[in-house]
């Protein structure tokens, strides 16, 4: 009688902590276009003793929740570029399917180190770029005109309409394939790769790239979620508090994004990228030592 009651209490504490941590991951995930997965997997494995396979399974569910939850607000505010998102999903879903196959051939530590290296590169590439939102003239790629990718949005902070062109379409597609591959391998949304691909290679404004990334992440994650589900990697006891927490967090994050200028988002983004990549390297070596 007593042990059962005590065990029940532990389970409730686990659910509460998992929910609270997921709210925070959802807030930062949707604000940064991270999708929450990159923050959730370290939180669940390091602080909560969750097995990595279950952490990845819960992460992919939360990634879909973040994307679908925040996209409601983003689409309403006309920040997402739907056509750009759909075109790039051709690459991300193809990559996610490839990643689901290749994932079985590579070891976890090797993947973690590769991912960490890509994140580090993204962080330093971000630092080199200008920080203002008033885009200098970007010469559109010929495909961008044919596929109607050039668009505009209303910036609430600057209170003006921002017109933008889209460059580097083939490079962007190639990077998006890699982003999808990482998503399929690691069970993360890989917004950390999608945002720089649009931001740096395609010269899309920061707010458009982070919201369009959020919009695309759910579709990419759905391409690998079925595999995780069939393998039994989605544990309802972990996935339920995580999905609900991330949903609440993503709604809060979507509201905060509107009131923060892009320069400050970028600074937070760079710090988060560095921290997550260090975390991934530490975790990779930690796994080998066990």
């Amino acid at each position: 009688m007593v042990p059962r009651k005590k065990a029940m209490t532990h389970s409730i504490i686990f659910l509460i902590v998992a929910f609270g941590g997921s709210v925070l991951a959802g807030v930062f995930g949707s604000m940064l276009g991270l999708g929450g997965g990159a923050l959730l997997v370290p939180m669940l494995t390091i602080f909560m003793g969750v097995e990595i396979h279950y952490a990845i399974g819960a992460s992919i569910v939360s990634v879909i929740a973040t994307s679908s939850g925040a996209a409601v607000a983003y689409v309403r505010d006309h920040l997402s570029n739907i056509r750009l998102g759909m075109l790039l999903e051709v690459a991300t879903t193809s990559g996610a399917v490839t990643g689901a196959f290749v994932g079985g051939l590579l070891s976890g530590p090797v993947l973690s180190v590769i991912f960490a290296a890509v994140l580090m590169y993204s962080a330093f590439a971000m630092l080199r770029r200008r920080t203002d939102d008033l885009t200098t003239h970007v010469t559109p790629h010929p495909w961008a005109e044919k596929l109607k990718l050039n668009s505009s949005y209303h910036d609430k902070v600057l209170n003006q309409r921002i017109d933008y062109n889209v460059a580097g379409v083939p490079t962007g597609l190639g990077l998006m394939y890699v982003a999808g591959l990482v998503s399929g391998l690691l069970g993360v949304g890989s917004g950390v790769l999608k945002v720089p691909a649009m931001d740096l290679a395609m010269r899309v404004p920061m707010k458009v790239s982070s919201t369009t990334s959020n919009f695309m992440i759910g579709v990419t994650a759905a391409a690998s979620a079925g595999v995780f589900f069939a393998r039994g990697q989605i544990n309802p006891f972990i996935a339920a508090p995580v999905a609900l927490g991330v949903l609440v967090g993503s709604f809060l994050g979507a509201r905060l994004l509107q009131r923060v200028a892009s320069a400050s988002i970028r600074k937070v983004f760079v710090i988060v990228l560095v921290l997550v990549s260090v975390e991934m390297i530490v975790k990779a070596f930690g796994i080998q030592w066990h």
């Binding site: 065990a7 532990h10 389970s11 686990f14 659910l15 097995e51 396979h53 279950y54 569910v61 879909i64 679908s68 939850g69 409601v72 689409v75 309403r76 997402s80 739907i82 759909m86 075109l87 999903e89 051709v90 879903t93 399917v97 689901a100 196959f101 559109p140 961008a144 005109e145 044919k146 596929l147 109607k148 990718l149 050039n150 668009s151 505009s152 017109d163 062109n165 759910g218 579709v219 759905a222 391409a223 690998s224 979620a225 079925g226 595999v227 589900f229 069939a230 393998r231 039994g232 990697q233 989605i234 544990n235 309802p236 006891f237 972990i238 996935a239 339920a240 999905a243 609900l244 949903l247």
Partner: protein
């Protein structure tokens, strides 16, 4: 005449961001909202049922111990359903973990329906390039779900 195509091309992008595209975005927005609210309500119902009935619907009473709930069984996941038919039959039997998994499956389906709605919207706009682009994405998604089944 030599300058005219250049001018037309740079103006072309803006003209296409018209009412039709905004309508499509709003349809997608509402679809996503319904999918997210429905799936989260189902997940919450399953979670509350688990807490109040003190049962997952699958494990014996010993499973209340946190460690057994968190133990990974890749080949014998007997503590929760891992196929769509098992989820549906378990949910009909009001098993809390099956109800949570039903919500999870609805959540996974949300982006797939989003792509399907986009396909219809692009078809109504007679935007042939984007019909093919969207159709490709939808086919990849369906194939991935079938592959997921064979992997399991």
């Amino acid at each position: 005449m030599a300058n005219a195509p250049d001018q037309a091309a740079s103006d072309g992008g803006e003209g296409d961001n018209s009412a039709k595209l905004i309508d499509m975005e709003l349809i997608i927005s509402r679809l996503l909202r319904v999918g997210v609210y429905t799936s989260s309500a189902v997940i919450l119902a399953g979670l509350l049922m688990m807490i109040f009935t003190r049962s997952t619907g699958y494990s014996p009473m010993g499973a209340y111990h946190l460690q057994s709930l968190l133990r990974y069984h890749p080949h014998h996941p007997e503590e929760f359903p891992v196929s769509a038919p098992a989820v549906v039959s378990g949910a009909l039997a009001l098993k809390p973990f099956a109800i949570i998994m039903l919500g999870v499956l609805l959540l996974i389906a949300t982006p797939v329906f989003r792509v399907a709605v986009s396909l219809v919207a692009f078809a109504f706009e007679k935007d042939r390039a984007y019909v093919w682009i969207t159709l490709y994405v939808l086919v990849v998604l369906i194939i991935s779900f079938l592959l997921g089944k064979s992997v399991g």
